[in-house]
């Protein structure tokens, strides 16, 4: 390295130093610290004490840990396909040429601008068993005894899934952008060959937007595993722990029980789960994601 290059390097590091500092202090350090704490008995107030694998061992026999893991998997398993189908079909509808499309697009995007707390409180009213909009609608549709959503063990998780589907605006916008990039020439050629609606969707649209689907699925996996606010606000984890999701239990152990070491261990387990799933999706994507021009 010449003197000139060295000086350039130093300058470069100096100019990026605010970001490097921020990244080290706010990302690398907490991540590394939480990894260390996961092997510690740590109450936040007292200094951490190393206890080896005890937290991980205790987690394996903690019934609430398993329950919360199950609740979260349930949520993920339903949320990802439902979210995919809902947002893609809405994006396709919003991609048609109708008058006032800008308005419709806005209508579907607006919910994602509503703050999480306000949205959750709004949905608590919608789901109210007696006066709720949803049940009033269901009764009018001829369902005599609609469920009391948020207080019924069997319906609390589905209720939260329904609420989450309402806030898919951003995913819809990303799909919409992807759909607008599908070459019209390909669609026209297929039409000339006599392809029907489904053929075009299956053989042209989906392959062409597969990178967008890939991105959205990964984001959905990460986001769904972290489901927290809705349950924290709307149900507090109940009824009968049916909405005690992983992140909610993690929060309770960390900030209510002051067991930061135990919570750190939980966080690392969640990290590994998300990592493995993302890697699996990535492997599948190698064969099924098409990057045109790339």
């Amino acid at each position: 390295m010449t003197k000139e290059e060295k000086r350039e390097l130093i300058k470069g590091i100096l100019f990026t130093s605010p970001w490097l500092l921020g990244f080290s202090i706010f990302v690398i350090y907490p991540v590394a610290a939480s990894f260390y704490y996961s092997f510690c008995y740590y109450s936040v107030i007292q200094p951490p004490r190393f206890i080896g694998l005890l937290n991980y061992k205790d987690l394996l026999t903690d019934p609430i840990f398993w329950k919360s893991l199950w609740n979260t998997f349930y949520f993920v398993i339903f949320m990802i396909p439902l979210g995919f189908v809902t947002s893609l079909s809405l994006a396709m509808l919003l991609n048609t040429k109708v008058r006032g499309m800008a308005f419709y697009r806005m209508v579907f995007f607006v919910p994602s601008l509503v703050p999480m707390v306000a949205g959750s409180i709004l949905w608590m009213w919608i789901f109210n068993g007696e006066y709720g909009l949803l049940n009033n609608f269901l009764i009018k549709m001829g369902i005599p005894n609609p469920p009391n959503w948020l207080v019924d063990v069997n319906f609390a998780k589905p209720a939260i899934i329904i609420m989450c589907l309402w806030g898919l605006g951003q995913t819809i916008v990303i799909y919409l952008a992807g759909l607008q990039d599908v070459p019209v020439a390909l669609i026209e050629a297929a039409e000339l060959d006599g392809a029907n609606w489904f053929d075009k969707l299956w053989n042209i649209t989906i392959p062409m937007i597969s990178p967008v689907i890939y991105f959205n699925v990964i984001m959905a996996i990460i986001g769904s595993f972290q489901i927290f606010s809705q349950a924290y606000i709307m149900t507090g984890g109940g009824p009968q722990r049916s909405t005690t999701f992983y992140a909610l239990y993690l929060y309770q152990t960390a900030f209510e029980d002051l067991r930061m070491g135990y919570a750190s261990a939980m966080a690392w387990i969640l990290f590994v789960i998300i990592l493995l799933l993302t890697m699996a999706v990535q492997r599948i994507s190698k064969e099924s994601v098409y990057y045109h021009g790339g």
């Binding site: 936040v44 107030i45 068993g129 109940g238 009824p239 009968q240 309770q252 029980d257």
Partner: protein
């Protein structure tokens, strides 16, 4: 170039440090920072006490003036945690009862025994339960500010309408249940007049009738408002632990208590109750089940009067001890208090204690408790305190707190977990998803394991010291 950059950094750093520096060094006033968890009129009452303190111009041992400044802090347990961990806590914090155990165990509070001795503040000045609340592992960790106890509140108008004597509260749980049946009204399809559950239950097909009808009023519901779901055992002679190393979630008293909770679901039907309860508004609203005369009896704290006054002005009500099983235990109540503590790392602990001890003088305490509409935790009470007090039944709550059967939040390090576990068990029992004995035994096993782990950790820490 290099010099310029170094100079720049140095200047920024210098400014930063100057900003953090203690501005009090040169002044002749010591600022005591106080964190209060209440807002509204309760905070106003504390502010009045602080104003009184500041107006007296107390000085510390260096002759500097002590000035207390209050800030209202929401979610005080979490804020205090981060403040203590970050080394920048307030000088005094007003915290919940349960927090004393959790924080004292973790070494986050300053024990005040030496200060108490110096100021000659002794146990005999207090109602025993409130002194006891501040104690953990033989040391004192704070002093009470406003106390509370819980009692049965009943709606006298609904009593009259049901043909009950509005001035005679039930003397046992069994009597109470019968009154609740008389106070529970069901509207049957095609009938104008509602019928009480007491009348209905005599009919052979009463369960079907109940299903077809609509509950329009209930005598009592264990879930309304459902606070302290862990505590029912105490009215049946149960305890949640032995005070040392044994969890007793499924002791016979507790099992009996939760059998009783279950009996309400059995009797009135889970779905019928849920349907009826979904018409209730939030606690602090005129649609509150008790305030809107939908539920005739509730177990609530001394603060309930404030809500009656605000949302159901003119309501005809009374309060008495919540009855125990067979009336065997007299005056059972749950007592708790707001506690003034000095966090570890507080900059002015001596001045902080001066303020805490001032709040615990009869004059200041009565000002505070009258403002917050509670009774005082001190044994001595001035005659006109009760005469001035807005709550017409304040003496009931005071007498309950003095009872030997007053219990408080179990002083367990794992209390928050135990509380969640008990709430879960309560829900399972209430919704008829599990038998009390079975689910309480599960709670015992889980919590015993957790308690043992914490005791082991605590022992290891002590050995290291």
């Amino acid at each position: 170039m290099k010099k310029v950059i170094v100079l720049l950094f140095a200047t920024i750093l210098a400014f930063q440090l100057a900003g953090c520096a203690d501005k009090e060094q040169n002044s002749d006033t010591v600022k005591v920072v106080y964190w209060e968890k209440w807002s509204g009129f309760e905070a106003d009452a504390m502010q009045a006490v602080i104003d009184l303190f500041n107006s007296r111009k107390f000085t510390n041992k260096d002759g500097k003036l002590i000035h207390v400044e209050m800030s209202t802090v929401s979610e005080i347990d979490r804020r205090l945690l981060t403040a203590v961990a970050g080394g920048n806590p307030p000088d005094v914090a007003g915290v919940w009862t349960w927090l004393v155990t959790a924080y004292a165990e973790k070494g986050a509070l300053l024990p005040i025994d030496d200060h108490l001795r110096e100021a000659a503040i002794t146990e005999d000045r207090y109602i025993p339960v409130f002194w006891e609340i501040c104690k953990y592992k033989g040391k004192m960790w704070g002093l009470p500010s406003t106390p509370a106890s819980v009692a049965l509140h009943w709606n006298k108008r609904l009593f009259r309408e049901a043909g009950l004597d509005p001035n005679v509260p039930p003397s046992s749980i069994q009597e109470f249940d019968e009154m609740a049946e008389k106070l529970t009204l069901i509207k049957l399809p095609g009938q104008d007049k509602a019928v009480s559950f007491y009348e209905l239950k005599g009919k052979p097909d009463h369960e079907d009738l109940l299903g077809q009808g609509t509950i329009i009023q209930m005598g009592f519901l264990p879930s309304e408002p459902g606070w302290w779901p862990w505590s029912w055992g105490y009215w049946f002679g149960g305890e949640l632990w032995n005070g040392k190393e044994k969890v007793t979630a499924d002791d016979p008293g507790n099992v009996k208590a939760y059998e009783w909770v279950k009996s309400y679901s059995d009797k009135y039907g889970v779905d019928n109750i849920k349907k009826f309860s979904s018409s209730f508004g939030t606690f602090a609203s005129p649609q509150n089940a008790f305030l809107s005369s939908k539920v005739a009896m509730v177990r609530e704290g001394v603060w309930m009067y404030n809500f009656i006054d605000k949302y159901a002005t003119g309501m005809d009500w009374d309060a008495a001890p919540f009855p125990s099983d067979g009336g065997k235990l007299k005056d059972v109540t749950y007592a708790e208090a707001d506690i003034l503590v000095i966090p570890i790392g507080a900059r002015h602990p001596d001045e902080a204690f001066k303020f805490i001890s001032f709040v615990n003088t009869q004059e200041a305490m009565e000002l505070l408790c009258e403002g917050q509409r509670k009774f005082t935790p001190l044994k001595n009470v001035s005659e006109d305190f009760y005469a001035r007090h807005k709550n017409p039944h304040i003496r009931v709550f005071r007498a309950l707190a003095e009872s030997p059967n007053a219990f408080t939040t179990p002083k367990m390090v794992i209390w928050q977990e135990y509380l969640r576990e008990m709430s879960f068990a309560y829900e399972m029992i209430r919704d008829l998803k599990a038998e009390p004995e079975e689910v309480l035994s599960d709670v015992r096993k889980t919590m015993q394991k957790r308690l043992e782990r914490e005791l082991e950790m605590s022992k290891r820490a002590e050995e290291r010291r």
